[in-house]
Structures are given as structure tokens and as C-alpha cells.
Symmetry: C2
Subunit: 255 residues, 2 copies
DNA sequence: CTAATAGTGTCTATTAGACAGTATGTT
DNA sequence: AACATACTGTCTAATAGACACTATTAG
């Protein structure tokens, strides 16, 4: 019944493109997440999710927007609450409740330079049975940890992710990150959430890459185009993306 | 940055059956929710969701289980976090953060008598355009309020529900309740969550009633049986439910 | 030329909707 | 007998998977 501190943590996701060895090929796509380096105790010099205290006169969603703008300069971004983290010992300073949000950004809109303590990390997952190895890579570092995928309810196929081995991430952010990635993946199947990660204009090929990345499987070209056709409109503009036929640029079509 | 109180609120849902005038017909089904009457200020004598403070040494999920058992006597119940409510003025005693959970119970398992301040309310929704009228009825009372359905993100079809007119419910529980109902409805489309509301053994007809209730539409008999066939196993037992052909009892089949 | 993606067409298998028709109990 | 639900079968339309085929560019 004692009082607690109240914070918010942000999972800021975007799509990263990396040049391919093969010059004819499309650039590889990665899901990437923005992390910041802590400059004070506890967990000084560890990476963590952007976040902070929720002010007295604001709600956690407003706090998230404020922090998101501070880190990226972006407003009007897709922002969804993904859960509450309230482990008794999650913050050594005293009991702290965190309301966590997922933000999806179109990285082509990023104009301002990142704050000097912030960095995008590419996400790679290696899944073996019910263990998942999470790899977060930037230019020079690789944060790596393993989680156990535990089924909570068979009927709804809801999972919990128990951290088995720790990386250099602060607090319980390993757990928040994997939960967020899985929430995102899940939404890809039932909604058009992917378009929140895409630039305004894109080719069907690029869109297929992102779907493929997030669903973790190859997609059949003709079937994909058929299904996606009702969700996009062609702009008429063409774009040349390499040693192959140019492609039409599309936009998302609201229903 | 000041400290806040931390509570949990529970949406305990179950399926209610009401006899029909027509004795041959199956009983009507309702989605019902357990409310309790507050016995102290603030909001004394108003109905509200079961809930309470989260203890220092427990997490909100544990607190929810504790409260659920106190109210229903049930353990091992489906329990899912549905969000955080953190409005600045939601509790007149001071800033209070509530982590809300949805519990789905099989009401046939309820053995103990309800606490004297608790009561099940049948839920009825009347939807007109983007307004929803919510009716919560018990034997003698009807709590009634209206909400506005506001789209937050077109791509994911996420909604917010703004309360337009208030009923005799305490705190911001009107908002929590409609959000919970909608979350449940949504899950019905993509998962087998309905079975968490069903008794161990049920007929396809009863199951169809519940699906129909939660999806808010009539279902085609043959198509429903075809789809559901892979999710249930017949027990072999027959049950007579009225002036018509007896039915086979089924159980949920895990995949 | 070749490699790579862009984009179309077509065959087939699966699935959903509609609806007719039979079965079997109580009122 | 009438009614209400239980349950099956069948026709058709829509959809998904597989895959072949053409188009167009840069290397």
C-alpha cells in the first residue's frame, strides 16, 4: 500500500536498410530499435530503453510522446501501450511501475541528428524450440541474451518471456523488448500495422521484404501482390532500385 | 515525479443463461460482469470493479489473482492484462495508477456464494454509428451510459472510448469496462478465447450461441460446425436440452 | 549475355457462405 | 402433429499456394 514511482519506457521501432554485397540485390531489411546509454546510476553506462518519469500533471501516453519527440523529433507517430512492468525489484532505487509503449517510426522522416547517447540497434532473433536468442547490434556492439518462451494460455496462444541470460541492458528491459517485438509480430498478422513502419511511398517489393522480415518467412510473390493490392494505391511514379526492372511506387490506401 | 498509489482493477466476465418464454428454445445467453458496491468513500454506495491496492511485495497479476479468489473462490482462471489507467484525476484521494486485468470464468464452477456486496450484471450494447450505449443490468438495477468510439489508428483499427454520459459507476470504470468488452470481442475473432468462458463440456449449439453473442452476428450453422469441428472433441455423452433432438457434449481440443 | 527484381496469368486445392434436407426429442 | 434444435450434404463463390512466364533494368 506504500507509494511507488511511475515511469514510462518506449520501444521505438523502425526499419533499417543495409547494402547488400550483391549490387543487383535489394538492400537487406532489419527491424531496429532505439536505445540510449544511461549516464547515471543505477546501471550507469548500460544501454536501456528511452523513458523517464511521468510528470504529476500528465498521463503516460503524453510522457511517451514527449520522450519520443525529444529522441527523434517526430510527432504524430503510431504509439500503443503494450503493458505494465511492475516487478518488485525491477529498480534498485525503490519500487517503480513502468507503463511501456511501442512507437513505430518511418525512419526516412528522421531529420535531426540522434542525441549523442542514443543509437539504433538492429534486431536479430534465433528461435530454437521454445528458446529465443535475441541479438541487438549496432556498428560496434552486440547485446545478446536468451529468453524462454513460456505459454500462458493455450487457447489464446499467449506467451511470457523469461530472461535466461543477461546482456548489458539496464533494468528489466530485456523482457520488455522481447515482449514488444512479439506484440508487433502478432499484429502484423491481423492488421495493417506494417504500414506504420513504411515511408509514405514504397514499392511492393520493399513492402514484401518488411512483411517477410516480421512474419519470419518467405512469401509467395503472386499471392502477396494479390492480397496487398486492395491495401495500396499506385502513385504512377516509377523508381529504379538496382540492376533490374523499375518498380511502381505505392501508398497505403485507407479503407 | 511525485509518488503515486498503485492498484489493480478486475473485469471478471462470465456467461449468463436466462430462461426463454418459449420452453422449446435454448436459454438466452448474456455476457455478464461482476461488480461490487463500494462501502466507503469516495464513491460510497456506487458500483465499481473489484480491485484494490497492490501490496508492497506483490505484482499486479498476483494482486488480481488474490482479489479474484476472494470474490469468486476460483483459482487457475484465465487472466490477462488489458491496460493501465493513469488519468490525473481518476481518484479524488490522490494520483492512483490502476493496472487492469480481464478474467474469464466458467460460471458453472462457482460454488461459493457471492460476497454480499457483489453482483453479476448482464451486459447489453447498443451500437449506433460511432456511439455505443452500454447497459449493465442485474435483477433490480440498470446502469446505463454512452461512449464515443474514436479511432486512434486506421491501420490497426484501434479505438478509444470516451465516456459521454455517466452512470452510477465509480471512478473511471465506465471506460475500463467498455475497453475490456471490446478487447474480449476482438480476441474472439483471432483466438479460441471463447472456450475460457465455456464449461468443460458443452454442445455445439451452446458454443455457437456464445460466439454469436460476442461477435454480435448470426452464424451459419453448417459453416460454424465445419470450422469448430477441428477445435473440439466429442465426449460421446448426449444431453437433452429441450423440445428437440438431443445433442452431443464436446470438449475443447488443444492443438 | 546474365542476374535480379517487377509484374501477370493460370491451375488447383482449400475454405466460406448459402441453403436444402434429414433426425429426434418435447410440447 | 408441430416446433425447435441437431446434424449432414452439396452447390457455388472466393481465396491461397504453387509456379510458369514475360518485362526491364544494370552489371
Amino acid at each position: 500500500m506504500s507509494k511507488v514511482d511511475y515511469t514510462t519506457d518506449l520501444l521505438i521501432f523502425g526499419i533499417d536498410s543495409k547494402e547488400n554485397d550483391n549490387l543487383r540485390s535489394l538492400p537487406y531489411k532489419y527491424l531496429s530499435i532505439l536505445l540510449v546509454k544511461r549516464n547515471k546510476e543505477p546501471f550507469k553506462d548500460k544501454w536501456c530503453l528511452p523513458g523517464g518519469y511521468v510528470y504529476e500533471n500528465e498521463v503516460s501516453k503524453e510522457a511517451s510522446k514527449r520522450i519520443l519527440e525529444k529522441e527523434t523529433g517526430l510527432i504524430n507517430v503510431y504509439l500503443q501501450q503494450i503493458g505494465v512492468y511492475d516487478g518488485v525489484d525491477r529498480d534498485p532505487r525503490g519500487r517503480t511501475i513502468s507503463s511501456s509503449y511501442m512507437a513505430l517510426v518511418d525512419k526516412t522522416l528522421l531529420k535531426q541528428k540522434l542525441n549523442k547517447d542514443a543509437c539504433w540497434f538492429d534486431i536479430e532473433l534465433e528461435e530454437l524450440d521454445n528458446k529465443i536468442k535475441v541479438l541487438l547490434k549496432n556498428e560496434t556492439e552486440c547485446l545478446e541474451y536468451e529468453v524462454n518462451k513460456v505459454i500462458v494460455d493455450k487457447k489464446t496462444e499467449e506467451f511470457e518471456y523469461k530472461v535466461l541470460s543477461h546482456s548489458d541492458l539496464a533494468f528489466d528491459h530485456e523482457e520488455i523488448i522481447i515482449k514488444g517485438i512479439m506484440t508487433l509480430r502478432n499484429k502484423v498478422q491481423n492488421t495493417d500495422i506494417v504500414f506504420n513502419l513504411m515511408p509514405k511511398e514504397f514499392t511492393i517489393g520493399q513492402l514484401k521484404q518488411v512483411y517477410s522480415l516480421l512474419l519470419g518467412k518467405e512469401l509467395v510473390n503472386s499471392a502477396f501482390r494479390r492480397v496487398i493490392a486492395s491495401k495500396v494505391v499506385e502513385t504512377g511514379k516509377m523508381i529504379k532500385t538496382g540492376g533490374h526492372r523499375p518498380s511502381v511506387l505505392c501508398r497505403y490506401k485507407e479503407r
